[in-house]
């Protein structure tokens, strides 16, 4: 990060390669739209490059970059709410997985592929139905296995608030996914 702050592009490339998958997936699981997730992930690294000089290694780098990603996601959600008056079509490949990915699983028959796709869509919908803070706390816990302390730093709230967010999120998901 010190090299990135000095404008070293090689160091920046290493940093991007190291963190792009986790940042992309964090955003994708939060937003639920693949194309938008890719755009926002680029925006995250753009901010990292622009603010590298201000970075102080107080917390883990992952916490810092996830905080940037979280803020961008929450802002995007707010603008999306405003844009709801003038809706634009979303990309077609946004839900679940592409067929190539589903098939890479080794599932041989088309019915199974469709069932897996439908199941993924239902899980994704259930996640998207959670309020933003609960959703982000859940994504950070479930997929990145961060501690309550780290999640609290990223969301800018207390550890007990994180605990409460997760209890509520799990309760809602339990209800919404009971048929799966």
């Amino acid at each position: 990060m010190i090299r990135v702050a000095k404008g070293d592009e090689d160091a920046f490339e290493i940093l991007v390669n190291r963190h792009q998958t986790s940042v992309l997936n964090l955003i994708y699981r939060f937003i639920g739209d693949r194309t938008q997730a890719k755009d926002l992930a680029q925006e995250v690294f753009l901010r990292v490059w622009q603010t590298a000089k201000c970075y102080e290694p107080k917390a883990k780098f992952t916490t810092w970059i996830y905080r940037i990603a979280t803020n961008l996601c929450l802002n995007e959600l707010k603008s999306a709410r405003r844009r709801r008056w003038f809706p634009f079509p979303r990309s077609n490949e946004n839900e679940g997985y592409t067929f190539e990915e589903t098939l890479s699983d080794g599932s041989p028959n088309a019915e199974e592929v469709l069932l897996t796709k439908e199941r993924s869509r239902q899980i994704s919908d259930a996640l998207q139905s959670l309020p933003p803070n609960q959703r982000m706390a859940l994504v950070l816990k479930r997929y990145d296995d961060l501690s309550y302390q780290e999640i609290a730093q990223i969301l800018g709230c207390s550890v007990s608030a994180v605990e409460s967010l997760l209890v509520r999120a799990k309760r809602t998901l339990q209800e919404r996914l009971k048929d799966l």
Partner: protein, 163 residues
């Protein structure tokens, strides 16, 4: 020994291994003996497993080249910036609302002026009585100005002339 209600409140934190070691052990031993709480925990685990089924997506190979392009051409594709004073004084939605209200007021005002009969100076004025009578002809079986109306007038004239 913990009570069921206590345990169920702590199940989520227990699952996330966020309880203090002693509490973690207490919940563990309670789950071994209490079927109801154990069932609750299994449900929680089930949901955790289900949402874990969502797999990763992978970044495109051109993710970094695109990013570098954006960094080197920072102004490309950005919206036209508003003057700083305007964005400070009025956020975008407020401006939109103000313009809408001004538009509605102006529309109402202009509409009222145009609707007034004396607004157009060259317009021939008609008395309200005349206007009403003319409009009544619309419901006549033979409206004035048509061929049939002319024929009937001619026949009436000839009849009165022969008398």
């Amino acid at each position: 020994m913990m009570r069921c209600r206590n345990v169920q409140e702590k199940l989520s934190a227990y699952q996330d291994k966020e309880l203090k070691p002693r509490e973690q052990e207490e919940v563990s031993s309670h789950l071994l003996v209490c079927q109801s709480c154990h069932k609750q925990y299994e449900k929680l685990e089930g949901v955790w497993q289900t949402i874990g089924e969502l797999r990763e997506i992978h970044p495109d190979p051109w993710f970094y080249p695109q990013l570098i392009k954006r960094i080197k051409e920072p102004r490309e594709g950005r919206s036209i910036p508003r003057p700083r004073w305007a964005s400070r004084l009025l956020p975008a939605p407020a401006i939109a609302w103000i313009l809408l209200v001004i538009g509605l007021l102006a529309g109402t005002y202009l509409g009222n002026i145009l609707a007034r009969s004396d607004f157009f100076p060259f317009q021939t004025s008609r008395s309200s009585e005349e206007t009403t009578l003319t409009s009544l002809h619309v419901f006549d079986p033979v409206p004035p100005g048509t061929l049939a109306h002319g024929y009937l007038q001619m026949v009436n004239y000839m009849e009165s002339d022969s008398k």
